[in-house]
């Protein structure tokens, strides 16, 4: 597939007009079901849907990382100039999707083995985005993607709104199925879809008692406050429920101490489990219905040795599946 992220996509797939056929039509539910199947086929872990309204439109950036302005327009077709990207107001459906990362490389952070984990997920997302943009184009719709890594809008926020997961102490989205071992991406489209609702799987409540990521952080960049403050004084941001991290000290640590990407907070997270042992599902159920036992679950996580970092050298001796991920793991929404 064509690599490289583009706001408008590769634009090479034949459109219904060029083929002389009508564009695809169906109910929003059918569209959602179709896209979920397609996204899994394109190697996304999971996907969810929401709609941009007056409030959630704020999650779309005013400027992309390359400096181009993002402007909502009444035009029907999306377009792009040297300085601006125009988003039709008809492209109000948001698809957030996740891409799995390898737990076995991430638990070896901060090393080069661990550091490439996120890079590999971003590279895979390039192909996924291009694939779904072409898929939508072939159906007669538009898919507006990230022009570069983390462009367009705030991915974790859309992940939460679409029910893919909850925010966490490491200030990233954690999904019930894959924990923090996913990257989150987003795409705008004019294909009407059935929207999903945010979830409460007890993840953020568990973070109150856990603090494992913050304790393991090399630069003490993660918050140890018992509850999400809801306001970040340093950034002057309010209104969203999150633990805030000191991004400056985190990035400084990357450059000066780790000399590569870090990711210890991902690796040690109790949610960063594979799904083979039955006990994990039982603990997840326990966390969601009995938050008073969260401290006990955290203690047991330590006792069983979960989240222990492994040596970079040992990774070369492992027999792992493709990309180091288990793509057979089912997801609740599909």
């Amino acid at each position: 597939m064509l690599a490289g992220k583009k706001f408008l996509g590769p634009q090479t797939a034949p459109t219904p007009e060029s083929r002389g056929v009508p564009k695809w039509t169906g109910t929003p539910e059918e569209a959602s079901k179709m896209l979920r199947a397609a996204m899994r086929h394109f190697s996304a872990a999971n996907c969810g849907f929401t709609v941009l309204d007056e409030n959630t439109s704020k999650l779309i950036y005013s400027k992309d990382p390359d400096g181009k302005e993002l402007i909502f327009t009444d035009e029907v077709k999306a377009s792009e100039t040297d300085k601006q990207r125009f988003i039709p107001k008809s492209c109000k459906c948001v698809m957030a999707y996740t891409v799995q990362m390898s737990p076995e490389t991430m638990r070896r952070s901060p090393t080069m083995t661990g550091g490439q984990t996120t890079t590999l997920a971003y590279k895979r997302a390039e192909n996924i985005q291009a694939s779904v943009q072409e898929f939508l184009r072939g159906l007669g719709y538009q898919g507006l993607g990230e022009s570069s890594t983390n462009a367009l809008g705030i991915a974790p926020a859309f992940g939460v709104l679409t029910g893919l997961g909850e925010m966490s102490r490491l200030n990233r989205m954690i999904s019930p199925e894959f924990g923090p071992m996913v990257r989150v991406f987003k795409l705008l489209m004019d294909l009407p879809v059935a929207v999903d609702k945010p979830i409460d799987a007890g993840i953020m409540a568990f973070c109150k008692a856990c603090k494992k990521c913050a304790e393991a952080c090399l630069s003490q960049s993660l918050s140890l406050t018992p509850s999400p403050p809801g306001r970040c004084e340093a950034r002057g941001t309010t209104g969203h429920k999150a633990y805030f991290e000191d991004s400056v000290s985190c990035m400084t640590s990357w450059r000066e101490k780790a000399t590569t990407n870090c990711g210890i907070c991902f690796g040690v997270c109790p949610f960063a489990k594979k799904d083979k042992a039955w006990i994990h599902e039982m603990v997840k159920v326990g966390m969601s219905v009995a938050p008073f036992a969260d401290s006990f679950f955290r203690s047991m996580d330590d006792a069983f040795g979960y989240g222990a970092q492994a040596s970079g050298e040992s990774w070369w001796n492992l027999d792992l599946p493709e990309y180091g991920i288990d793509s057979s793991q089912p997801v609740g929404a599909v």
């Binding site: 076995e104 489990k273 594979k274 083979k276 042992a277 039955w278 006990i279 006792a303 069983f304 040795g305 979960y306 222990a308 492992l318």
Partner: protein
């Protein structure tokens, strides 16, 4: 055919186990299965310490059940 003569003092006592013994037995087998599954799966998950804890737990539960069953049968 010679008729077997049974002494009046010889008898076989058949004691029916109470229902909860069967329930406990099933729970015991289920618990061992659960622990063994977690042990084997933890090894697959490359979590050696968790695997060891589950294997040891399974062995302890298995041994405890065997010992209790043996002691009960001796009564």
């Amino acid at each position: 055919m010679a008729q077997q003569v049974v002494s009046k003092k010889d008898y076989i006592e058949i004691r029916k186990r109470p229902w909860y013994v069967y329930v406990i037995g099933l729970l015991w087998i289920g618990l061992i299965g659960f622990l063994a599954q977690n042990a084997a799966a933890s090894a697959q998950e490359l979590e050696p310490r968790a695997a060891m804890v589950f294997w040891v737990s399974a062995a302890v539960v298995l041994l405890a059940g065997v010992v209790i069953a043996f002691l009960r049968s001796r009564k």
